[in-house]
Each structure stands twice: as structure tokens, then as C-alpha cells.
Symmetry: D3
Subunit: 130 residues, 6 copies
């Protein structure tokens, strides 16, 4: 059910997505995530179109977005996404120092999230004002 769909075996609509991924990312290969999703061309296209829109430069730069992606993936303990987005962030310029600070913040946030809930801390009125 989850075999990887290689470019050579792909239908035209899957190939079109693969081509757009490679063109957008300026790369010449497709990683396993997309090859697995290609078993379901509708989800493949929707997911790629969404990611393409979301990860494009905007109010936040692409590297910041990759680091946010890593923060979520590490919190969720998703090995695939940690590996792929860390590689992606490095390619976009994340230095070792940036990665180290990212991990430090992610670790601390996971800690204080639990201290806040464990101590059953109520939200301050000051934080409720939009």
C-alpha cells in the first residue's frame, strides 16, 4: 500500500507535481515523503500546493519557517520530519549556532509548558487583552 512511486512509474498528474517540487526547490530528486504520498495523487497535490504557499517568503523568511517546522517536528518526535527539515534548513543557511539555539528554545518550551499545566497556572488578565 505504501510503496514509493518513482518518477519513471508515475502518472502524468503525479509527474507534474514532482516537476514543480524540483523546480521550486531547485533540486533534481524527490524525497520519500512525496513518493509515498503519490499513492494518493489528490493528497499529493493538495499537500504540495499548501506547503508551497505556506513556505514561500512572506512576513517570515523561508529559513525562519524551516526552523519553526523543526520545532514542531521535534516536539512531536517525528524522526522523518526532523531529518528532512533539518537538512532543508541547513541548505537555506542554518548554522550550527542557530541550530543549537533552536534546540535550546524547543527544549525549554517543552519544559515550561508542563510546569505551567502541572502548577495549574491561570492565565493573567494582562494576557487576555488581544
Amino acid at each position: 500500500m505504501h510503496q514509493l512511486v518513482e518518477y519513471a512509474d508515475a502518472t502524468p498528474d503525479v509527474r507534474a507535481v514532482y516537476d514543480d517540487i524540483m523546480a521550486t526547490r531547485k533540486t533534481d530528486w524527490i524525497n520519500n515523503f512525496w513518493k509515498a504520498l503519490a499513492n494518493d495523487p489528490v493528497t499529493l497535490r493538495r499537500t504540495w500546493e499548501s506547503i508551497k504557499q505556506i513556505m514561500a517568503p512572506g512576513a517570515l523568511d523561508p529559513l525562519t519557517k524551516e526552523m519553526i517546522y523543526i520545532a514542531v517536528s521535534v516536539t512531536n518526535q517525528c524522526p522523518y520530519c526532523i531529518a528532512s527539515h533539518t537538512a532543508s534548513a541547513c541548505k537555506k543557511g542554518m548554522t550550527g549556532a542557530m541550530f543549537h539555539e533552536l534546540m535550546a528554545v524547543v527544549g525549554m518550551a517543552n519544559e515550561t509548558n508542563r510546569l505551567a499545566s502541572g502548577y495549574q497556572v491561570e492565565i493573567d488578565e494582562q494576557f487576555k487583552t488581544p
Copy 2:
């Protein structure tokens, strides 16, 4: 067990931490998280010293760090931390557009984390090279 420790009732060591929090953050009040932690002065000090070190400007700027904090807190569904760090990020310059893009990335990462694990995708060799 979890009553909030107000400044007026605090011991000198707790007051010293409160003073440092207010001086570092250039504010004149202490939020409930610290008042709850103050029931355990050792944890109060260690947590504050760690956060002060981690959130200081470095390879990543303070606003980027706040947004990473939000990404983790939203993923963990911690209402207190979402409210407090969103307020904090706004104070440091997060615009509505930045917040919207942050949420879009956090949402998408949470989605693709599950697609990757649900499809049992293996990590590409290319992502294993450090």
C-alpha cells in the same frame, strides 16, 4: 499547594528573582507562572536563569525565539504558554501577518508529521548525511 506568591509575601531569594525578571524584561509586574513556581524557590531560580540565558539575543533574535516558543506551545496545546508567549511576541514586534504565517507553518507541520508517520516513510539516505 499552588497559591501564587506575591512580591509582598516573598522571601528575599524569591524577590531577587522577581527583581531580575522585571529588570531584564523592563516591566513592573510578575506574571502568574513565576508566582506559582515561587512555591519552589530552587526551581524558580533555575528555570529563570535558564530562560534568561536561552532567550537572550544570539545567533537567533529574541522575536524569532518567541515565535519558536509559540510553535511548541501550540503543538502541545498549552493554553497558558500560548497566551503568555503570544503577548510577549507582540511586545517584541510580531505583526499580525507574522503571526498568521507562524500559525500556517505550525498547522502544516503538524499535518505532515502525521502523514510521514502514517505512511511509514523511511528516511532518505540524503538526509542521513550530517
Copy 3:
């Protein structure tokens, strides 16, 4: 501590559970999950009796229940449970198309769960009425 307990080495009470698992599931082997739990016969029996009761046909059919099991396991990122319950669901008739839609819903739910908490959305009055 976690060695797998094979049928040949099992005590009578563990064998009785193994026999019931194989009879109930119409299969001739025991998967590693049960062989690991067999180190604690009390938990083995309680867990099996609970699962047997819960996964039996009722207001929901067994395949729907397997898909719900997958949805939880994917959300929690449990590789063992994803693999075993996906195999189980296939055996009970889950088609590729069903699996793809299941993954799409699981992914989207994980996304909107975070959008709802990140935007600090309050529950509508209409949803509070039982």
C-alpha cells in the same frame, strides 16, 4: 526484562491468553506486542480482555474501529502500533482508497487542532449544549 515470551516457554496462564488471541483472530501466530506483555501475565490478561471487548462488533464495525486505532497511533507517532493496526485493518478489508482518506482526515485534524488552539478560539455556545 523485555525478552519476548514464546509459546513454548510460556506458563499455562499465558498460553491460555495466547490461545484465545489466536482463536479470536483466526490466526496461528502471536505478534511481539503480546509476547512482550507476557512478562507481566496480569497486564497481558487485562489488556487482552479489554481489547477483545472493545474491538468486537457493536455500534461500530471492526474495520471502523481499526481505522480509529490507526488515527490515534499516527497522532501519537507510535511506529509499532501504526504497523500492526495498518496490517490488521488491511486484513479486515481496508482498501488503499480508504487508507488514503483516513490519512487525509488524520493530517487535517492535527492541523486544525493547532489552528484552534493557536488562535485561542473560544467554544461556541451552540457546541456546549449536549
Copy 4:
């Protein structure tokens, strides 16, 4: 930043999404989730279009999809999504008996996910064959 966008105050593009939501769901009101997302019209439209596509009848019926949505939301402990999708599922015909069985499966899956990881159970070869 997170004020709710009411229909009367919405821009034409937001109103177009609101209209489609109400028409698709055969209802005359918009719940808070969409009113919050409307602060970011691009995310509002993308999220709605995705959900509309994903939750439509297909290999799985809409009620089964709602129950999968609940399974994820309960696992993630998202109060808003639990409330809204439980209401939604009831409207689509979920009976009390179905809800009870759904909860029983979700609870048990969350339990055995941890037993599998805590006992460090390796995936059986039989489960690795697609």
C-alpha cells in the same frame, strides 16, 4: 489580533468562504473557528477548501470521517475541536452507543501505544510486508 470577524464586517473574499461553508453544511451560522481564521483570508480559504475536499463522501462516509476527527482531537486534547466535531458527528447521526465505542477505542489505543513503546517492542516481520 484574534478578534472574531463577523459576516457584517467581512471583506468580500471572506464572505465568499462563509457563504460556501453555510451552503455546504446547510446551516445559517459560522462557528468561531472560521471567524478567527478570517483574520488571515489566505489561510481561511486554503483550510476551508482542504477540509471541504477531505470531509466529502468518498471511500469513507462523512460520519466515519467525523469520528476519526474526534479520535485525533481527543488524543491531542483540543477542547475546541472535541466540542465542535462531537456536535458535528451528532448532527450526522452519531448515536450515544457509537460515541461510547469510539471513546473506548481511543482510550485503549492511547494505552497500548505506550505499552508498545515502553516495552520497546520491535515491529514483527509480518507487519513490514506492505
Copy 5:
């Protein structure tokens, strides 16, 4: 669907469980968790019988078990379970100092769990020997 089942309105089988809960816990009231589960008498009984068996004194004492329950509930950010099991642990003798250390461990474990996965640390051979 989720109304609370009061003792006066309960069927004999639900009352039997309520009676056993009160006798076992040496208390004269039933907390909302059980009153909600009572909508599904089968799940009510199975869950109570399981908890009664699991939380009884054994190789671990009941207070240690309550603190483990809190550790899980805090990690999952479940407000109801945090409140109820913290109250339970206090009744069984948890002091403020014990609670503070419990929270410190829970917080730190949540932090290092993410550092381990974020740095993609491989399991040492020494830890693989049972």
C-alpha cells in the same frame, strides 16, 4: 450525550460500581469522571476494575503510582486529570516538597526528550542489552 449520572438516577449496575469506588477509596462522593463514564456502563465497569487493580499496593506503593499518574497527565496537558490526581496524591500524603520535585523531573524529562530527538541521538549499544 455527556450528562452526569447521579447516584439517585443510576441503574443498579452503575450503583454497584459507584458503591465499590466509594468503599475502596473510603469516600462518600463520586467525582465527575465516573459520572460521565456511567453513560456507558460497560466502559465504566471495565475502567474502574482496571484502575482498581492497577492502583492497588504492589511492587510500587499507591502514592508513587499517583505521582506517575500526575507525570503522565501533566505531559499530556489534561486539566481534569491533573486536578483530580493531584488532589488524590495530596490525600495519600504527597507533601509540597514532593510535588515540587515531581514537577521538576517532569519538566526536565519533557525537555531532554526533545533534545534527544532533535539531535537525532542514536541509542547506545549499552542501552540495548536488556
Copy 6:
């Protein structure tokens, strides 16, 4: 970026932490977690100092603390931390029977956390009094 820093290649400040870890734990080797963190000496030191303080004997004994660490790691599904802290707990005297009861509590807590949120149970007044 994540290569492991061996003792022979470590800077004096990293070696000082390594020496303290081995002295405190009465062991002659360093596990991969610390060798990975050593890429960021500041985080290495802060994390070690925090863990040393938190895991020391206090109101809770070191073995109880290790079991709480396991409870969190299992709930978060962190394979590295499960393996390392289970090994650690065994070294500190955790028997098979203790481990089995620990797992039973962790499993059940993960189950009832979801039943509580799925049934949308409100916190009893009795649990709100500190």
C-alpha cells in the same frame, strides 16, 4: 552538525562536564546524549547542571525520579530516553515487577486522560480547593 564529541576530541570545558557526569554517576563512559549536546557546550553544561540538581536525592528518592522520567518518556514516545532511563532505573534497583506496574499505570493514565477530555468532563469543585 550532530557528530558525537568523543572525550579525546573535547575541549577542556566539555571534558570538565564529562568528568563530572562520570564521577556523579560512578561510571566510566559517556552516553551519546551528552556527546551530541557537546556540540553546544553552553547547553551541555546547563542541561547537566539542571539534571544533576533535579535527580539528586531529596523528598523523592532517585529511583522514583527515574521511574517518573520513564513515565514521561514513554508518554512522549521518545525511544532514546526510554532506553536510557530504563537502563538507568534498572541500575538503581528497579525490579521487573516495579517496571510492569510502572507501565500499567502509564498505560492507564494515557487512557483515562483521553476519556476525561473526550467526555468533556468538568473539574469537580472539590478538586479546585488547593
